[in-house]
């Protein structure tokens, strides 16, 4: 391969103006074009677009290119795009090098001259590296034809059902003793008014009817090992007699559907914990469901005639106004479902107990979803009285005078009434609490699942790969990813399921070839590399007898090697490298970066 003449094609993307507004792309291309072995050097408006990709394909065919460099946005977005173009041109996809001149150049450097110089240097480094690229092939490993769904709420059930109907075996691991999660306790759900328990029953009935699905309730994940196609998940299941049983479940892919939990207000937050008449929305829904319509609504023995609902408790928090709870950052974001859930609860309350008068204290009403605005309008027409507060002046809940019309007094500066301070006397305060991610447990640590600043699990990209995680083979379903309602949870669960179906339907998974490889000519069998390897069986020393001499060489098991490179750094003879990430390549890049600085034009 190396005997072949190197012909490099270099492509600099304008990205509309995202790059070209800051980087003189023509100059970068010109500089690259003058480097040895660079056969073609071009710019194009949108390299990722079809005509841009076709440029590469055509040039490969026309000019016999055998190395391609594209300088555009982050490789996380388009490295695979261009690799597929390289493949269409007839080259091995790993003869490709990606340069990031958007996120790490045009978007972060103010000076056009400096940005252009840096881009030029980065392209030079990539050209230096791409010479060292070799064709690699994907490592095909058998995949376990079983998915593991962690969490038996609606999202988990939906995903499991989808996969089972599709024909894949599924194991659901649920830590509580029953399936259905929070939805089972919701009473009726919006926007349809169906019973949450009934919804869960439907799903559970369908799940039970499919022999492809194994359900483990009372089961906790204690750890996991493996990689896409070949995970092993350790589960500890409670037995009826109180003892536990340890199970190891092989799975080709894992769907995380661990869900969320309601925010628990602080002591004294809107009087919570201070007055027994202050409850959270989930508590209230339970009270409402348990009270017969023909009686009176009572909370803690007191009859409720007037109730107030306060929105955005534990959501849309603002630094300086709310204090973070220990171990939990402020939740800046909207919890998405509380507005509609609150308004629905208000209407339910009025419908069941027509004499009760309801106040609603909000910041913005966010009934965004299909048929949600109707729920807002219904609550209005049912007579709910709305008051709008600013985050800086939240409602204050205090004890009312003994002879007042309610036990509690809420004072609030009302935006809708020219900022006047309004006082309402109520018997009950319901806090519309936000959503917090539930604890994912040891799986997150074992598989290194990334979470965002808000604690919810992080997808790769909200639009490009909305349900996949950075860890291949692990996908997200439901509210462990972000707050959402039942409909959205089920949609994301099915979307997660389709990714898993695509992964496991062929019985094998193709892994990236970035694993250690040993240069047998250089290897002296010292075994130092072995001492650094943390993955059992990934590396071993094999003794063989050649020409009567015992020769020791390191050998890599490609399916088990993770390509971390710990072995590479310690080899005294530089006999071991990571495919696609060789020390030669890195050194070539550093050399290029240290070469004469690119002239900087003044802006």
């Amino acid at each position: 391969m190396n005997s072949e003449e190197v012909k490099i094609g270099v492509y600099i993307c304008h990205c509309g103006g995202n790059i070209s507004d800051k980087v003189d792309v023509e100059k970068v291309a010109e500089d690259a074009g003058n480097l040895p072995d660079v056969t073609v050097s071009r710019t194009y408006t949108f390299m990722c677009a079809d005509p841009g990709q076709e440029l590469i394909v055509e040039d490969i065919e026309k000019h016999g290119l055998n190395r391609i460099v594209v300088a555009s946005c982050s490789p996380s977005l388009h490295e695979t795009t261009f690799r597929s173009a390289v493949v269409r041109g007839g080259l091995n996809q790993f003869l490709y090098e990606h340069v990031n001149i958007r996120e790490q150049v045009s978007w972060v450097h103010a000076s056009t001259g400096e940005a252009t110089a840096k881009a030029t240097t980065l392209v030079r480094a990539a050209i230096a590296r791409v010479r060292h690229h070799e064709p690699l092939s994907l490592i095909r490993v058998g995949a376990t034809s079983r998915a593991l769904v962690l969490g038996g709420g609606v999202a988990g059930l939906r995903a499991a059902l989808d996969l089972a109907v599709y024909g894949l075996p599924v194991t659901i691991v649920e830590k509580s003793s029953r399936l259905g999660g929070q939805v089972a306790e919701f009473g009726t759900v919006f926007p349809t008014g169906e019973s949450g328990a009934e919804l869960v029953r439907t799903l559970v009935r369908d799940v039970s009817a499919l022999e492809e699905i194994t359900v483990l309730t009372g089961a906790r994940v204690t750890g996991a090992t493996g990689y896409v196609g070949n995970f092993t998940v350790m589960v500890e299941q409670e037995r009826g007699d109180g003892s536990t049983e340890d199970l190891e479940i092989p799975a080709g892919a894992v769907i995380v559907a661990t869900g969320s939990r309601p925010y628990e207000p602080d002591m004294g937050e809107f009087g919570f914990g201070q007055f027994p008449e202050v409850v959270t929305l989930p508590d209230f829904i339970q009270i409402l469901n348990e009270t017969r319509a023909d009686g009176d609504l009572t909370v803690n023995g007191k009859m409720i005639r007037r109730a107030a609902f306060i929105h955005c408790v534990g959501s849309r928090q603002i630094e300086g106004i709310q204090k973070p709870k220990p171990g939990r950052p402020l939740n800046e974001n909207c919890s998405r479902i509380c507005c509609t859930a609150t308004l629905k609860a208000e209407s339910d309350l009025i419908e069941k107990f027509p004499g009760v008068f309801v106040y609603d204290l909000y910041r913005d009403i966010r009934t965004y979803g299909r048929n949600h605005e109707e729920i807002y309008e219904r609550a209005s027409r049912d007579g709910v009285s709305f008051l709008c507060y600013e985050p800086a002046t939240p409602p204050v809940v205090t004890m009312a005078a003994p002879d007042d019309t309610g036990n509690l007094l809420i004072t609030v500066k009302d935006n809708l009434t020219a900022g006047m301070e309004i006082e309402v006397a109520v018997d009950l305060v319901v806090l519309a609490v936000g959503m917090e991610p539930a604890d994912v447990g040891p799986l997150a640590e074992s598989l290194k699942l990334p979470a965002g600043a808000d604690g919810f699990l992080q997808e790769v990209h909200p639009k490009l790969r909305p349900v996949e995680m950075a860890v291949a083979g692990v996908v997200l379903a439901g509210t462990c990813q972000s707050p959402r309602d039942i409909e959205e949870s089920c949609a994301s669960a099915s979307a997660a399921a389709v990714k898993v179906a695509g992964l496991l339907t062929r019985g094998h998974v193709d892994l990236e070839p970035y694993v250690a490889r040993v240069n047998a000519d250089r290897c002296e069998g010292t075994g130092i590399c072995l001492s650094q390897c943390e993955y059992d069986g990934a590396l071993k020393i094999v003794e063989s007898v050649i020409d009567g001499r015992a020769i020791r060489k390191a050998v890599v098991n490609e399916a088990l090697c993770t390509g971390c490179g710990a072995c590479v750094a310690v080899c005294p003879t530089r006999a071991i490298d990571i495919n696609g990430w060789t020390l030669d390549q890195f050194e070539a890049m550093v050399d290029a970066m240290c070469a004469d600085p690119v002239e900087v034009a003044s802006d």
Binding site: N18, F46, D50, P51, T192, N333, R336, G369, I486, V498
Partner: protein, 446 residues
């Protein structure tokens, strides 16, 4: 790409080549199913390809859409029919028989190489719909830079029949006498991903959206903000002035019974905030105001996005604009009650006003297929909670905004869900020894 025999059989026919349709098709094709996408426009990409950047990540819309478009176009299990409109979907035993009209492109799709020589030869200028009518293209043209397929199309209404394009074409691809063709596709399942249109600019009479030139639609603002938009920078249409003061009027096509759209269109708050942020980047000294009723920043990372916009100095004014009038110097006057400022009635003048229009269903599906459609025109989903993509007709599914307003993130997730629902449905239909695996066996990874 558009090679369409008179009768084809596919596992799934996806109606609509917007982001939801593309994602559904990709997910299905990855499972080894044969998919056809029917798109009525000359290019796939839908509304999203016309956007500048997308919230809340602010990555460019093209950067998300074009790879998906390219992946669809290159997928061996996907066939794309553009300029194709579904006339009817009728059940035929287990399958659906779909009648599709292929509108003439007046360019032979097999011969055209997208070289644009015809475009350069053409003399007739036509207002460019893709650019909100703010710039022009020729009567024969490639729809837009990233269009897929990259094939020219001729607008017969604007063509002055000089024949220069045909002369210039190196492959003799121009066919002036092309006729509409009707084809019939047999599909084992159908996904409706027909998407949305914005509410009309004239929907609220008091806003005079069709009369005042400097009152523009949000899609026009997207083009003004796009790096390759009509002017390459933000200028107002009436006189090309760089606007110093831009206002966004929220709920200009939603949450308003007086214009017949009582529902929330879900995306307008966020796209207005996004456009405001991009504007403050493009015009650092401009005053930007958003008139709103409730800011609905509900998605992951949206609230932070909103708070950032507020911190950047974008003014959020609570109060629904009641009336818009033309002021002097072609400026625009809005009249509103400043609710959180003592409720005074104010009249403010802006250089440019964007009406944050809502979403209406793009296609009237009534009588064209056996699914039920709600009174507002969106596809009815009988069990939205746990089966968000299923219609009342077995075998017909729905994805994206055809079933109600949705942002891109939710539309893409729902597209995946639709694909899962379709594949489950087809699996259930299969007798033992299923075809899905048979097809997938034919797919080898390079």
């Amino acid at each position: 790409m558009n090679r369409a025999a008179s009768t084809e059989t596919v596992d799934t026919l996806v109606i609509g080549g917007g982001i939801a349709g593309l994602q559904t098709a990709l997910d299905l094709a990855d499972l080894g199913l044969q998919v056809a996408i029917v798109e009525k426009e000359p290019s796939i990409g839908g509304k999203m390809i016309g956007l500048s950047k997308v919230f809340p990540t602010l990555d460019c819309a093209s950067c998300i859409t074009t790879p998906k478009m390219a992946a669809t176009a290159h997928h061996e299990n996907i066939r794309i029919l553009t300029l194709a409109e579904v006339e009817s979907v009728t059940r035929h035993d287990e399958d659906f028989s779909v009648r599709v009209t292929l509108q003439p492109r007046y360019v032979d799709e097999d011969l055209c190489i997208g070289c644009r020589l015809c475009e350069y030869a053409c003399d007739a200028d036509v207002a460019d719909e893709f650019e909100g009518g703010l710039s022009a293209h020729r009567a024969i043209y490639i729809p837009f830079t990233n269009a897929i397929p990259q094939l020219a199309i001729l607008d017969p209404m604007e063509c002055n029949l000089c024949g220069q394009c045909a002369v210039a074409c190196p492959t003799d691809a121009v066919v002036f006498d092309q006729k509409p063709r009707e084809i019939e596709i047999t599909a084992r399942s159908v996904v409706v991903a027909t998407g949305f249109e914005t509410t009309p600019m004239g929907a609220k009479e008091e806003y005079r959206g069709n009369e005042i030139v400097n009152v523009i639609s949000p899609l026009t603002m997207e083009r003004l903000l796009a790096p390759h938009g009509p002017y390459g920078r933000v200028l107002r249409p009436a006189d090309g002035k760089v606007p110093d003061s831009v206002a966004f009027v929220q709920c200009a096509g939603s949450r308003d019974r007086s214009l017949g759209v009582p529902y929330c269109s879900r995306v307008c708050c966020m796209y207005a905030i996004k456009q405001a942020m991009l504007l403050s980047g493009a015009l650092p000294f401009a005053d930007i105001t958003i008139y709103y009723m409730d800011i609905r920043a509900f998605g992951k990372g949206y609230e932070t996005f909103f708070q950032n916009a507020s911190a950047m100095g974008i003014e959020f004014v609570k109060g629904k604009v009641a009336r818009i009038d033309e002021a002097g110097d072609r400026n625009v006057e809005v009249r509103f009650e400043h609710i959180d400022e003592l409720g005074q009635v104010e009249e403010r003048t802006h250089d440019l006003v964007v009406l944050s229009l809502g979403m209406l269903p793009a296609a009237d599906l009534r009588d064209r297929m056996p699914i039920s459609v709600s009174s507002d025109g969106f596809v009815t989903v009988p069990k939205p909670t746990i089966e968000p993509c299923r219609t009342n007709e077995p075998g017909i599914f729905v994805a994206g905004t055809a079933a109600g307003p949705k942002d891109i993130v939710d539309a893409i997730a729902e597209a995946g869900a639709a694909a899962m629902a379709v594949s489950g449905y087809l699996k259930k239909r299969e007798p033992a020894g299923d075809a899905v695996c048979a097809v997938s066996a034919g797919m080898e990874i390079r």
